[in-house]
Each structure stands twice: as C-alpha cells, then as structure tokens.
Symmetry: C2
Subunit: 195 residues, 2 copies
C-alpha cells in the first residue's frame, strides 16, 4: 500500500470519519503546507508522552497532580464525578463549577464486562473520607449505564455522611420543545423550577 492510501486508512479509523472524509483530509494535508503536516506529526508523536493521567483525580494532564487538583483557589470541599477525562474539559468550559473532579474511567456495564471494581470508586471513597469533602456531584451521562453507575456510587457514599447530588436533566438551552424527546420532556416537567 502506498503512503497516501495508508494515511487515508489510518485517518478513516478516527471517530466520525468515513473513507470519503478521510480521503478529503489526506489530500488537503498533502496539497497544504509541509509545515502544517509536520506540526501535526510532531504533536501526534509526542501526545502519549506529554499527556498523562492525574494520580489524584484521573484527568488528562501534563503535570501530576493536575492544575485543578493543585489550584488552591478552587473549592476543595466539592468533587464532581465524571465518566471520562474528556468530560472534565466539557464541564470546565461551562465555567460553572469551581470544585475538584474525579474520573471514574467508565461506567458499570455488565454486557461489556465492566463492573464497579474496574472503576476508580475506591479512590473516590478515600478522597471523600480524608479530604473533608462535603458534596459529591455525580455527573455521569444521562444514560442507562450512567444512571446505574450514579446510583451505585451514591450508595457507596451514603454511609460517609456526604451530600450527593446529580446534574439536572431537562431541555438543552437553545433547544426546541418540538424536537425534544419524550423522556427529556418528562424530566424537565418533573424538575420544573419556580419563576
């Protein structure tokens, strides 16, 4: 296989990219600046060395512990529990939460062979016990697995006397009632707030 076909094949393995998009991207890189291709090459080459997991919270970071865990300006009494490291970036972008994070590394999914023991739940309990945590906000995805995991984690936390909350479910901002699914509408009725 030649270099271009090989590149197209590798690009088409990335999420959301079919063979057509991969081909268009490969040709764009080829007909673009050599420096752009080399910059991308360098970044990809050092990615796995530069970015590690924080030993405290499990986020992706270039320094261990991560900038959030070492930031004395953050609210150290609240932990937000997420499924994946990339969820931290999404929540940080909301600028709404100023506490700490804890990455579970997945969800309980018996079909995929993932049980509670495969998730970073023990270390979460340890942090709650030792670090004076007052509230744990569970921000797993609003899916069957995410809900199951949230319930499981909440039960483990019960005896530690910490407040456990879950992110609100409802209509997405800027969304359209007409296009909202039944379950989301039902949840937004149940969670309605006073005006």
């Amino acid at each position: 296989m030649n270099t271009l076909d090989h590149l197209i094949q590798e690009i088409s393995r990335l999420p959301g990219l079919g063979r057509k998009s991969a081909t268009r991207i490969a040709y764009a890189i080829l007909s673009g600046d050599r420096a752009d291709a080399e910059r991308l090459s360098t970044l990809l080459g050092r990615l796995h060395d530069a970015i590690i997991r924080c030993s405290v919270c499990g986020s992706y970071t270039e320094t261990d512990p991560c900038p959030v865990c070492t930031d004395s300006g953050r609210d150290r009494s609240t932990i937000c529990v997420v499924e994946q490291p990339q969820d931290v970036a999404a929540l940080e972008a909301s600028h709404e939460f100023h506490g700490l994070y804890h990455v579970l590394g997945g969800v309980i999914a018996p079909i995929d062979g993932v049980g509670p023991g495969d998730l970073a739940i023990g270390s979460l309990l340890g942090r709650v016990r030792q670090d004076g945590i007052e509230e744990v906000i569970i921000a797993t995805n609003p899916t069957v697995e995410g809900d199951t995991t949230a319930l499981y984690v909440a039960r483990q936390l019960e005896e530690l006397g910490v407040r456990v909350t879950r992110l609100a479910l409802g209509l997405p901002v800027g969304g359209d009632l007409e296009y909202a699914d039944r379950l989301t509408l039902a949840r937004s009725f149940r969670g309605r707030t006073s005006l």
Copy 2:
C-alpha cells in the same frame, strides 16, 4: 497552550472538521493505542517527502513518472484532463477509463486571479502534439469555472485535429429524481439515451 489544545486546534483546521469533531478525535487518539498515534505521526511526517507530482501528468505519485504514465498496458492514445491530482484517484476508482491523465492544477477563475497561464495547458498541448493522442476527454468539474476551463482547453486543442469530449452530465446513479436540481434534470433530458 498545552499539547492537547494545540492538537485540537491543528485538527480543527482540517477540512470538514469543526472544534467539536476535532476535540472528539484528539481525545480518541489520546485514549487509544500509543502505536496508532505514532503510526499516524510517522505517516504525516514523511508525507510531503514520499509523495511528489508526476513530471508528465501532474498526478500525485511516489515514483516519477507515475505508475499510470509508465504502464504499457494503458491506452496511450487517450488523455483525460482533470482539475486536481485527487480527481485522478476518483476516476481510477470507477475502473472505466484506461488511458492517461493530465492534471491542470486548477481552473480558470479570474476572481481568484487564476488565468490560463497558471494551468498546465501548454504541457497538455505538447503531449497531444508529440505522443499521438487521438482523444482528449475533459473531466473538469461541472461548475461555471470547470465549464469555462473545458471550453478554453477545447479551443486550444481545436487546431491539433484531436477529438475532444467532455464527461456526460445527468442524474447520479442511485439518486432520486425528486432531489435532483433543475439544471441536472435539464441536462439529463438533453443528454437522454435510447433504450
């Protein structure tokens, strides 16, 4: 800027990828195998050295002249004229054409400052004169610029006594009449064939 943000920024510069897709791709590479990231890095790093333009037809190739130009099994009396090197790959995938190619390197577009002198038209005329070419199939895109360029090239070829043709316009195979645009429908009427 950290490595991950930098990577997301570089990926989002690729065609068809916004910031959200770029973020998803970057995280997928990060959470995937180190070997996959390194293979992609290596391919991108050597891309511009490995792939050059054929000195005869202008296609992308790893050897000069390219495999098509040196293939004695191809019909050496027919040249298919395309805009870009990537068009050659698309036409080759149809397995319908067995002649040679000629890449113009663009289209006549006065608004973008591209005139006939910026395209590989002189070298096309040279090939037609010297290589016993009997037919030139013009396969520029069916756009205003592509049509203008096709007409211009056809006129230049007129005095060389070579047959000049253009790819048929009509409904795409598997397409739906209902969704075809007026111009395409008009062209498919005009170009209708006997059954």
